[in-house]
Symmetry: C2
Amino acid sequence: MIRRSARRMTRQRKIVLEELRKVTSHPTADQLHQMVRRRLPGINIATVYRNLEILTDEGEVMKLDVAGTQRRFDGNALNHYHIRCSRCGRVDDVHMDVVDSLEEAAAKACAYTVLSHTVEFVGICPGCRDGN
Amino acid sequence: MIRRSARRMTRQRKIVLEELRKVTSHPTADQLHQMVRRRLPGINIATVYRNLEILTDEGEVMKLDVAGTQRRFDGNALNHYHIRCSRCGRVDDVHMDVVDSLEEAAAKACAYTVLSHTVEFVGICPGCRDGN
DNA sequence: TTGCAATTGCGATGCACTTGCAATAAGAAT
DNA sequence: ATTCTTATTGCAAGTGCATCGCAATTGCAA
Ligand SMILES: [Mn+2]
Ligand SMILES: [Mn+2]
Ligand SMILES: [Zn+2]
Ligand SMILES: [Zn+2]
């Protein structure tokens, strides 16, 4: 029989998750590494990456592959949409309903079995627009 | 006064564009490099990248930053949606109407000035589904 | 407590893309 | 046609983000 290896809740993994859950800013791995380091000075960036990978496939967090930039991570694993500022690169949540009907429309418009979808808006954040 | 440098239509640029326009497959830069090399054996990958960059900001082609994979290029610069096969990675067009109302909804649901949006579907392509 | 596989820190490596530079060539001016 | 300017090229080296190999450590089940 196939057995998945038993996961351990290490100090590192716990704090990576806690720090990511604390913010709504969709940090990159190295931003998160800085945050975690305040509590765990010796932690290595590779450990942060490895844990984010594991937490992602456990469904605890979400990987965001933002167009043309460094990968970001989201402590909220429920599907929701994002907007990226084209000036400064920050990424924020868009608090609108997910449009599931897009997937039905797509299923009719191509030959694939449709499984999921993501939407990324691009715009100008308030800070950049109002000049700060 | 600011003047943009005059663009030259080099043999390389012309053929990169022609080869990209020939296909509907959204090739990566090195796939396109292989294609172009059949007509221009000496062309370097850096030249392909540079020309794709230039053609993109001239609006002739489109860069696709597909979630978690190598960048792909699209000879059709008009906004349309894509679907990626989670098994084999191929990317195809989804021939459905672009839902502009998403941007209005997003504008109400966040503080950004919304400029554009992209949708990426994920699914299983016919080839992978039907086992080839 | 003990045993042992999962996990870590660290350095090395990989990969996709970008850049510096001298040589080349597009295309406007003559 | 020829000359001239400078955008563009090929090549090699460089960047940056992410991943990997490995010996040492550690969670945790027995
Ligand atoms: Mn989010
Ligand atoms: Mn397309
Ligand atoms: Zn901004
Ligand atoms: Zn497939």
